[in-house]
Symmetry: D3
Subunit: 181 residues, 6 copies
C-alpha cells in the first residue's frame, strides 16, 4: 500500500479564489503540471462576501478547462492553507507572480506559512508576459463596465460570464483603475 501523498508522486497545490479563472491562472497551472507529478487547483470557498461565481460554479468551470489533463485535479477548501496542504499530502504550493508588488505580499505569506508548517515549500512561477496585467479583479471590472473579456479568460469562463447578467454583478470596490482612478 502506498502512503497518502506519494501514491502518484509529488503533488503541488495551486490555491486561489479563481473568481473567475483567468488565462493567467491557466498558464501557471499548465506550467506547474510540467514540474510536478500531480497538480490540484484548490478553490478557496468564501474568500469574498459577494463573489461573481459560487465555489461550486468555479470548480465546475476549472474542471472543464483542465478536463484533458490527467494529472490536474480540482478541489475546494477552507481554513488554513497549510493544514489543507498537509491533509492532501502536498509537497509544494505554487504561486503565480505577475509583478514585483505581488512578490512582497507573497514573501510575507510564504514566511508565515513556513512558520506554521516548515515541511511545506512554496515555489513562485511567472506567467507568460501577455498575462502580466490579467487578474480576476480587473477582469471582473472590465466585465462590470461592459467591456469584452475575450482573451482574458478561457472560452468556457467567457461563456459562463456572458450567461450572467452584467447588471447583476455586485462589486463593492468598483471602478478602480479602468476608470482612471
Amino acid at each position: 500500500m502506498t502512503p497518502p501523498g506519494t501514491s502518484g508522486g509529488r503533488l503541488a497545490i495551486v490555491p486561489g479564489s479563481f473568481d473567475p479563472l483567468t488565462n493567467g491562472h491557466v498558464d501557471i497551472v499548465l506550467r506547474s503540471a510540467q514540474l510536478f507529478d500531480r497538480v490540484t487547483v484548490s478553490v478557496l470557498v468564501n474568500a469574498e462576501k459577494t463573489p461573481l461565481f459560487t465555489a461550486a460554479e468555479r470548480v465546475a468551470m476549472i474542471r472543464e478547462v483542465f478536463s484533458a489533463h490527467a494529472n490536474i485535479d480540482v478541489d475546494r477548501f477552507d481554513g488554513l492553507l497549510v493544514e489543507y496542504a498537509r491533509r492532501q499530502g502536498a509537497c509544494a504550493i505554487v504561486r503565480g507572480i505577475r509583478a514585483v508588488s505581488d512578490f512582497e505580499h507573497e514573501f510575507q505569506m510564504t514566511l508565515m506559512n513556513r512558520h506554521l508548517e516548515p515541511a511545506l515549500e512554496t515555489v513562485f512561477m511567472m506567467p507568460a508576459e501577455q498575462y502580466t496585467y490579467v487578474s480576476s479583479r480587473l477582469t471582473k471590472e472590465v466585465f462590470r463596465l461592459g467591456g469584452s473579456v475575450h482573451g482574458l479568460v478561457p472560452p468556457v469562463v467567457e461563456r459562463w460570464m456572458q450567461a450572467k447578467q452584467a447588471t447583476a454583478v455586485r462589486n463593492e470596490k468598483t471602478a478602480i483603475g479602468l476608470q482612471g482612478e
Copy 2:
C-alpha cells in the same frame, strides 16, 4: 471638415475622482497643457460610495481653478475610460506618478487599457517634488482629523472644504497613516 478629435489638435484626458482636486493634480494638468493642444480634466462619477463632494461640485471647483486656461476643459464620465476617451477623440491619457508603488498599479492598468483599445496611449508625468505626498485620500484624512489643508489644495477647494462641516465627513477607511497606523 475636420475629423473628430483633431479639430483642435491633439487632445489628452486627465481622468480621476478629484475628490478633491489637489495641488498635485493642478500641477499635472498644467504640465499636460504644455504638451497637448487641449486637455480635458475628466471627473469620474460614482467612484466612491460616500465622496466628500458630489461630481457636480467637483466639476464646478475644477472649472473655477482652470478658468483662465483656454485649452483646459472639464468634463464628467462613467463607464470604461477607454470608451470615453474614444468618444472624445483623445489620443492620450495622462497619469500623474508620485511614487514607485503608484507605478506598478498604473503599469497593469495601462496594459489592460491598451488591450481594450490599442490606439489610445497612456503617458506618465511627475508632479513637482513638493507634491509627492499630496493625495486626495490623505488630504481628506487631514481635513477629517481637524488639520489644515492649506497648501495641499487650491484656494478654491480650500474654501469649499471649509464650508463643509468636518463633522459631516463620512469616510469608511479612517485614520490610516496620519494616526500612526
Copy 3:
C-alpha cells in the same frame, strides 16, 4: 523648572493600533528604548470598526508586557498624530519597517506629517529578521483560521487571545493570504 518634553530627556512615540501587539512591535519598542530617554507606546483608539481588542484591553496588555521597563510608558490617543506628539513634547515618532512596500507608504506619511509639524522627526527602525512576516493583521488571520499564534505575540497577548472565542472574531477582510489568495 524643566520645560515640558525635556524634563525626562528626549521622548519618542511608537504609535499604532496594536490590535494585537506582536513580537515585532515589542522588538521595535525595545530598540527605541535604547536610543531615547523615554518611549511612549501610543495606542490609536478607533482605528478599526471591529477590533479584536478594545483600546482599554490593548493598553492593559502592552502595559503588562513592558512593566519591567522604567522608561517605556503606554498611552492612548485619537486625532492627528502630530498634534498628539506635540502635546506630549515628543521629539520623534518611531516607525518599524519590515519591508520595502511598508516604506513607500511611510515615506508619504512622513512628508505629510512634516508638512503639518516641521519640528517633529520620524525615524525608521528595522525589527529582527525573524519578525519580517509578523503583522497584527496576519496574526489575527492565523488566529481566526484556528492556527497557533505562539511565537508571533508575547505570552501575555497569547493568553488574552486564547480567552477570546475564535468564533467570536469578526474580520471583514477575511482569508487574504493564508488561504492562498
Copy 4:
C-alpha cells in the same frame, strides 16, 4: 517667421545610447511619433568605453529603421541632455519604462533635469509587454554568448550584429543574468 522649436510643431526627444537599438526602443519611438509633431532619436556619444557599435554606426542603423517615417529624425549629442534639448527647441523628453526599478532611477533623473531646466518636461511611456525584458545590455549578452537576437532587435540591426564577429565583442560586465548569476 516661426520661433525655433515650434516651426514644425512640438518636438520630443527620445535619448539613449541605443547600443544597439532594440525592438523595445522602436516601439517607444513609434508611440512618441503619434503624440508629438516631430520626434528626434538622439544617440548619446561616448556613453560607454567599449560600445558594440560606434555612434556613427548607431545613427546609421536608426536612420535606416525609421526611414519611412517623415516626422522621426535621428541625431547625436554629448553633454547635458537638458542643454541639448534646449538647443533643439524640444518641449519634452520621452523615456520608455519597462519595469518598476527603471522608474525609480528615472524619477531621480527627471527631478534633476527639471532642477537644471524647469521648462523641459519628461514623459514616460510603456513599451508593449512583449518587450518588457528586451534591453540593449541583455541583447548584447545574448549575442556575446552565441544566442540568437532575432526578435529582440529590428532586422537591420540583426544584420549589422551578424556582420560583427561575436568573438570581437568586448564587454567588461559579462554574463550577468543569462548565465544564472
Copy 5:
C-alpha cells in the same frame, strides 16, 4: 531505454557563481532537492575577472558540502544557461529570491531565457529569513574588511576562506555598504 533527462526523474539546475557558496545557497539547494528528483549545482566559470576562488575550488567546496546528498550533483558550465540546461536535460532552473529587488532582475532574466528556450521553466524559492542578508558579495566584503564569516557560509567554506590571506583579496568594488556608503 530511457530518454535523456528523464532517466533519473526530473532534474533542476541551481546555477550561480558561488564565489563563495553561502548558507543561503545551501538552504535553497536543499529545498530544491525536496521538490525535484535530482538537483545539479552548476558553477558558472569566468563570471568575474578576479574571483576569490577558482571555479575548480568552488566545485570542490560545493561537492564537499553536499557529499551526503545522493540526489545533489555539482557541475561547471559556461555560455548560455538555457543551452547548458537543455544539454543536461533539466526541466527547471531554481533561483533563490531574498528580496524584492532581486525579483525584478530575475523577472527580466526569466522572460529572456523563456524567449530563448520556451521549454525550460524557472521557479523561484525563498531562503529561510535568517539568510535574507547573506550574499556572496557581502560575505566577501566582510571577509576583506577583517570581519568573521562564521554563520554566513558552511564550515567547509569558512576553512577555505581562512586559508586564503585576507590581504590577497582583490575586489574592485570595495567597501559598498558595510562601510556606510
Copy 6:
C-alpha cells in the same frame, strides 16, 4: 569617571563617502543632531579609486559646513563600520533614505551589520523632499558635464568644486542618467 561613549550622552554616526557632501547630507546630519546628543560625520577613506576630493579635503569641507554646531563632529575611518562605531562608543548609525530602492540595499546592510554587532542600532531618516534627487554621484555628473551645482551642495563645497578644473575630473562611469541613458 564616565564610561566611553556616554560621557557626552548618546553618539550617532552618519557615515559616508561624502564625495562631495550634498545639501541632502547636510539635511540628514542636522536632523540627527536634534535627536542625539552628539553626531559624528564619518568620512570613509578609499571608497572609490578616483574620488573627486581626497579624504582630507572632504573632512575639511564638512568641518567648515558644520563649524557652528557644537554637537557635530567630523572624523575619517576605514575598515568595518561596526568596528569603527564600537570604538567610538556610538549607539546608532544614521542613514538617509531618499527612495524606496535605497531602502532595500540598506535593509541588507542593516541586517549584516546587526549580525556583526548586535548592540549597534541603525536608524533611517528622510531628507526634505527637495533633496530627493540629490546624490553625490549625480552632483558630480552635473559638474562633469558643465552644469551648475548651485543649490545641490553647500556654498563651501560649491567653491571647492569651482576651484577644481572640470576637465580634470575622471569618472569611469560617465553620463548615466543626465544624458538620457
